[in-house]
Amino acid sequence: MNLRTIVRAAFALCVAGFCAASTAEAQILSNISNITLNASAAQTLTVSVTSGSTVNFTLAQGAAAAGDVSPAISTSWNLNPGLTGAVSLFGYFNTPSAALTDGTYDIASTYVEGRMTTGAVATYTAFTQTNAVGPANGSLLLFTEAVTGVNKINTRSDNLDLQINLAASPTVPASAYTGTLRIQARAL
């Protein structure tokens, strides 16, 4: 590399440096202003019967009649574990003495039994509990799940098996009976 080459390189570098400096000098930045963003996500708790929302029974006096299908109940929540300790799911009849009726004769909730093997009732149990949801002596606790940081956002699906157990009931008149079992979740 001779002297001329060195001089040319130095000149090129100087020109480049000058140009860069000029560009930087031309930039003008304003002050910075702030916008504060406040967002809130509310707690949510929902239930839905994804399948089996209609259950048929063929009653037999002195025996238990299982439903033709088990309702699948999906329970979803987005909860703050600092505010909520547990989620519980309940099934209940509005009027326990008339869980099903044909308009003349009523089948009480005493003879309607439920089972949720993935929940709190491993064996068939009558809807005769008194709980925070539903009327006295007309409900059944189906599951309880503690809410922690791990499951504060969760969806679970459970099957509810139902039967009408007339093993100990008076004779039920031949007829068609209908009723509505209500499902509700509670977070506390």
Partner: protein, 194 residues
């Protein structure tokens, strides 16, 4: 020859004497006026270029988040940009908004909302439809900003003030479930002239 030289010398002496006398007579008549030579004083004044922004309204926005849908801010931010620039030195002014940490645009106690779920729109500027704060610009961190407007500087608008509304929303359409709670963040606004 000596006579001639003496004559010449006498004439010179006489001329000098007459000159002195003339100056003595002329001087007092113009008397009060003495003009010096000229000396100049240079006056140099500079007006510095200026570029400022302000948020006269909407500097705090509230959002009610809903999973799976966009949540609009409770108000739009009015942003006033004022400048006094030399068009010979400045070609364009641009306004940007950005988050200091794009992955934590809004922070909660256990969960953060990233800037890709926060969208802005300036119908009088460049993003006329909601666009996430995921651009990389000269102002703000990579992947965390949004260009709001760009205006070329000419002789006509070299000294100007403009006000634009910035709409902001949080779009959880494609986000993971956001835990119930409260979230706060700061959106920074800055202009750049170049």
């Amino acid at each position: 020859m000596d006579g001639i030289e003496r004559l010449v010398r006498s004439v010179r002496t006489l001329g000098l004497a007459l000159g002195v006398l003339a100056s003595l007579f002329v001087g007092p008549s113009a008397g009060a006026q003495f003009l010096s030579g000229l000396t100049n004083v240079s006056l140099n004044a500079t007006t510095a270029s200026s570029l400022t922004i302000a948020i006269p309204s909407g500097s705090s926005m509230n959002f009610t988040l809903l999973q799976g849908v966009p949540a609009n801010g409770s108000t739009a931010a009015a942003i006033t940009t004022s400048w006094n620039l030399n068009p010979g030195q400045i070609g364009t002014i641009r306004l940007y908004a950005y988050f200091g940490t794009p992955s934590v645009a809004l922070a909660g106690s256990t969960y953060n909302i990233a800037s890709n779920y926060v969208e802005g729109r300036m119908t009088t500027g460049s993003p006329v439809t909601y666009t996430p704060f995921t651009q990389t610009n000269p102002v703000g961190p990579a992947g965390g900003s949004l260009l709001l407007f760009s205006e070329a500087i000419t002789g006509v608008n070299k000294n100007k003030t403009r006000t634009d509304n910035l709409d902001v929303r949080i779009n959880l359409t494609t986000s993971p479930a956001v835990p119930a709670g409260t979230y706060t963040g700061t959106l920074r606004i800055q202009a750049r002239a170049l």
